[in-house]
C-alpha cells in the first residue's frame, strides 16, 4: 500500500477556544481536522477533570490535524496565534498517510 509523508499535529487547547483554533486552521489551509474529547489533565496551571462540569471553561479538547509536510509552518503560525496567550500544548510528529490526495 502506497503511503505519503505527512505531519500529525496535535493541539491540546482550552475548550472555549476550539472554534477560534479550527477557524484559524481552516484559514491556514488545512483540509480537515478531528476533535477528540479530553477528560482531564494537569499542567503548570493545576489539575482538572471534566467530571460534573457544566461550563466549557474548565476543560480542554485535542485537535488532531494531518497535513502535508510543507504546510507545517503555516499551520503552526496559525495555531500559535490562537494558543499564544493561553494554556495548552502543541506537538508535531512525522507520519505517513494513505490517500495523499486528501491532504
Amino acid at each position: 500500500m502506497e503511503t505519503h509523508l505527512a505531519k500529525r499535529v496535535e493541539i491540546i487547547i482550552e475548550a472555549p477556544l476550539e472554534r477560534r483554533l479550527t477557524d484559524a486552521l481552516v484559514k491556514a489551509g488545512v483540509t480537515g481536522y478531528t476533535v477528540l474529547p479530553v477528560s482531564g489533565g494537569s499542567g503548570a496551571s493545576g489539575q482538572w477533570t471534566r467530571a460534573g462540569q457544566v461550563s466549557s471553561a474548565g476543560g480542554m479538547v485535542a485537535v488532531v490535524c494531518l497535513i502535508r509536510p510543507d504546510r507545517k509552518d503555516d499551520l503552526l503560525d496559525a495555531a500559535f496565534s490562537v494558543v499564544e496567550r493561553h494554556i495548552g500544548v502543541v506537538s508535531i510528529s512525522d507520519a505517513e498517510v494513505l490517500r495523499a490526495e486528501r491532504f
Binding site: P16, R19, Q47, T49, A51, G52, A57, H86, I87
Partner: protein, 325 residues
C-alpha cells in the same frame, strides 16, 4: 434575628443544602464519587428550561406590570455597576493583579442561576410570591458584567482579546438562550402549556435540584481542595462580603421599583450571587491570564455555599421585613 436564625436553620436541613454538603464533603475526602459531565449538563438544561418556562407562565398568568421595565433596567444597571464595586473592594482586601481582580469582578456582577433557583425554591416552600419576570432579570444580568470587566482592564492599560465573536458568544451563550427561550415558550403557552408538562418541570424539580447541588458540591469541593492555598484570607473575606454588599444594592433597587417581597429576595439573590458558567468561559477567551483558581474558587467554593446557607435565608428575612412580608 431569631427569625433569621430559625429560617436559616430550617433552610440548612433541607435536602437541597444537605445534598450540596454531601458533595462538598465527598470531594474534600477525595471520594471518587462523581457525576458524569453529560448528566450534569443534562440537569442544568432541565433546570434552565423549567425555571424559564415557569417564569414565562407567571408573566402570562399575572400579566406584565409596569415594574417590568424598571426591573430590567435595574438588572442591567446592577450587572454593569457591581463589578466596579467588586474591583474596588478587591483592591482594598487583596493583592491580586489587575487582571485577576477584573475577572473576579466580572463574576460578581453576573449571576448564578442555581443560586436563583435555590432562592425560588425557598420562596415556594414559604409560600412567598414573586414576579415571574425575575427570570428575565436573571438572563439580563448574565452578560453585562463581562463588559465592565473588559472596560476595567482597558482603563488600567491592560490588553484583552475581544474579537467580534466574543460578544456574540456572550450574548448567545447557551444558558441565556435557553432561559430566555423557555421564558417565551412559557409566556406563549401559559397555564395550559404548563399543565401539559407540569409533571415534568414542576413535580420532580426539587429532586433534580438536589442531585444538581450534589454535583455542584463535588465540583466546588474539588476546586477548594486543589486551589484553597491560592486564596488569601482577604479573598475569602471578599467572597462573603461582596454578596452582602451586592444584596444591599439589589434591595435598594427592589424598593425603588416597588417589587414584591419575593421579587426583592430574588433581586437581592441575583445581585449577591456570582457566575460559574458563562463568565468563566468568557474569561478564558478574553482574559486568559486571569487565574481560574482564584475566580472559580471564590465564586463556586466560597460565595455559592455562603449564599446557599446564610445568604438566601438572610435576604428572605430582610426583604420580607422591609419590603413588607
Amino acid at each position: 434575628m431569631a427569625d433569621i436564625l430559625s429560617l436559616a436553620a430550617s433552610n440548612l436541613i433541607s435536602p437541597i443544602i444537605l445534598s450540596f454538603v454531601l458533595g462538598l464533603l465527598a470531594a474534600l475526602a477525595r471520594s471518587d464519587l462523581s457525576v458524569p459531565e453529560a448528566v450534569a449538563k443534562g440537569m442544568s438544561i432541565y433546570l434552565l428550561f423549567a425555571i424559564g418556562f415557569k417564569g414565562g407562565v407567571g408573566v402570562a398568568a399575572h400579566g406584565l406590570d409596569a415594574k417590568l421595565v424598571g426591573t430590567m433596567v435595574a438588572a442591567l444597571a446592577l450587572s454593569f455597576l457591581l463589578p466596579f464595586i467588586a474591583f474596588a473592594l478587591l483592591g482594598g482586601l487583596t493583592k491580586l493583579s489587575t487582571v485577576d481582580k477584573a475577572a473576579v469582578a466580572a463574576h460578581y456582577g453576573s449571576i448564578s442561576i442555581v443560586t436563583f433557583v435555590a432562592a425560588t425554591s425557598v420562596l415556594e416552600s414559604r409560600g412567598i410570591m414573586s414576579e415571574g419576570y425575575m427570570v428575565a432579570a436573571a438572563a439580563v444580568m448574565e452578560a453585562p458584567a463581562i463588559l465592565s470587566a473588559l472596560w476595567l482592564i482597558a482603563w488600567k492599560g491592560g490588553t484583552t482579546r475581544t474579537d467580534g465573536g466574543l460578544y456574540r458568544e456572550i450574548l448567545l451563550n447557551g444558558s441565556i438562550v435557553l432561559l430566555v427561550g423557555a421564558f417565551f415558550i412559557g409566556a406563549i403557552t401559559g397555564e395550559e402549556g404548563l399543565e401539559r408538562i407540569a409533571s415534568f418541570i414542576v413535580s420532580p424539580f426539587e429532586g433534580v435540584l438536589c442531585l444538581f447541588l450534589l454535583d455542584m458540591g463535588l465540583v466546588a469541593g474539588r476546586g477548594l481542595r486543589e486551589s484553597w492555598r491560592e486564596l488569601g484570607i482577604g479573598s475569602v473575606i471578599f467572597g462573603v462580603t461582596m454578596p452582602l454588599i451586592g444584596s444591599v444594592f439589589g434591595l435598594v433597587a427592589a424598593l425603588l421599583i416597588g417589587l414584591s417581597p419575593g421579587g426583592a429576595v430574588l433581586l437581592m439573590t441575583l445581585s449577591a450571587s456570582a457566575s460559574y458558567i458563562a463568565v468563566p468561559a468568557a474569561m478564558r477567551v478574553a482574559l486568559p491570564e486571569a487565574r481560574p483558581s482564584i475566580y472559580l474558587t471564590l465564586s463556586l467554593g466560597v460565595t455559592f455555599p455562603f449564599n446557599l446557607t446564610v445568604g438566601i435565608p438572610l435576604y428572605t428575612a430582610v426583604a420580607t421585613s422591609i419590603a413588607g412580608g
